[in-house]
Amino acid sequence: MEDIILLENIERYLTGQMSETERLFFEEYCANNPEVNAQIKEHKLFATYLEQYGEQKNFIAQLRQVHEIVIHTHTKKKPSSIVYLWNRYKRTIAVAASIAGITTLITSSVFTYFTPKTKPNQVQELVNKVNNIERKQTELGTTIKRVATKDNEPATPVLYNGTGFLIDGKGYLVTSAHVVKNTKSIRVQNYKGETYDAEIMNIDTDHDLAFLKITDNQYKPITHLPYTIRKNNIDLGEEIFTLGYPRKEIVYGEGYASANTGYNGDTLSCQLAISANPGNSGGPILSKNGDVVGILSARQLQADGVVFAIRSANIYRLLNQLKQEDIAYQKIKLPSYSSLKNTDRTQQIKRVKDCVFMIEVY
């Protein structure tokens, strides 16, 4: 038999494609040619190998595909177990959550109840709010005095006081806006105790500045102010001093410029290290050469000796703005020459204190 035909027969024999007679004939042929048996065996083995090889390849290909699917769906399937747990233990979770919620509420309310209260404002404006009781006492005192002196003029109680200073000898003053806000009736008093009526010309709460004008006939204009008002910025470490009325008496304080910005980085103001108390608000901050570099406005509550002042350049800015709007302001002339240079501090104070007033708000 030819090789190719023999192989075909072997294959047909192995796969059972032969008919009964063919098979018998082929088996007889095998018996006569024993070497064919070895060929059959070999081919059978080879065919199975080849078949299994193919199946395994197919299987591996399937595994790869399944792997991709499983990796993708596995990450998505995860929530389903959570959903299942949620559905199953919904009630338990709800009870647990509500108990936890109630406990949280109770504990936090207990905590808030017992925590010591902190004051919300960190910066204190240095206006002297005259104590109610004190006011009543003064009132009482003046009533008695009035009775005694038979003075008919009623004394009006002081609500706030602060400090202000002249920017023009004709009777124009500058003070902090927060000193004079919410009022119309103002009186100013110099260190000698002479009191004059004054009125507010302008309040700028953004810059915390206010212009006042002394309207009293008794007031004698000062022809020449001893200090100038500085246009440029204060230098860090510059020696400064202030005069103000934290008491009924004029009080001197000195210190230095400690930072270029004010509270929370406010660039309109600067930080000073100086002692200041309620009543100092609106007071002038003077450099050692006797020019006004700022207007004292507030202090930080938690820190010691941290005081903020509005830069003096803001006076110029505000005044120029007002001059354009209203012709009345054009009368104001800021002092241009300082006579305090190279004089000693006590001399400086003597001259400046004429121009520093206590501002009383009724």
Partner: protein
Amino acid sequence: MAFLYSSLIFFIYWVTFASLIVLKTSNPTVEFYEKELLKGLAQNDRKAIEIIYTNHYPIIQALIISNNGTYDDAKDIFQEGMIILYENAKREDFILTSQLKTYLYAICKRLWLKQLQQKQRYTTGWANNEDQSIIVNEALEIHEKQNATFELMDEALNTIGNPCKQLLEAYYIEKKNMDEIAKSFGYTNADNAKNQKYKCLMRLKKIFFTKYNK
């Protein structure tokens, strides 16, 4: 502070209630179910492969990852384990004596251990609790032999080159008949294709058996 305290309380509650949650693990129908799965696997059934894969891959992945392996290692090891399972599932005398999970775990663990030894990243703690079950040893032995044969087959098929390889694969693996093959391969008739197939088979056999009998 209040927040910390309350979250602590919440945590305690959560732990208390979560401990009530107990998952069902045993199921009487598992055995029957797994037998059916193996039957499906032996027939190369896609659904069966998917189910086994989904249920058991995460455990094996965790095993490999926690023992110096990567995600790719996990994939390779699990797929080799699946091949072994497949080979065994096709054997008529194969009986699964343990749960499918245990079987796959043991095989994959052994495979990975072997690979670690080869890469000399051997971890001593692991060798001690090495599973010496006969069924695993046997399965691995058969698998290795078969793998060697298949590698030879792969090599031989690649040596004979493409028209031959495709022809033989179409006939012996895809089980197409000669008329179909003649048509798709562009032979004028089935006899021509038969002739070509014979020549190819002879070449393949020669290459394969010279290496196989060594």
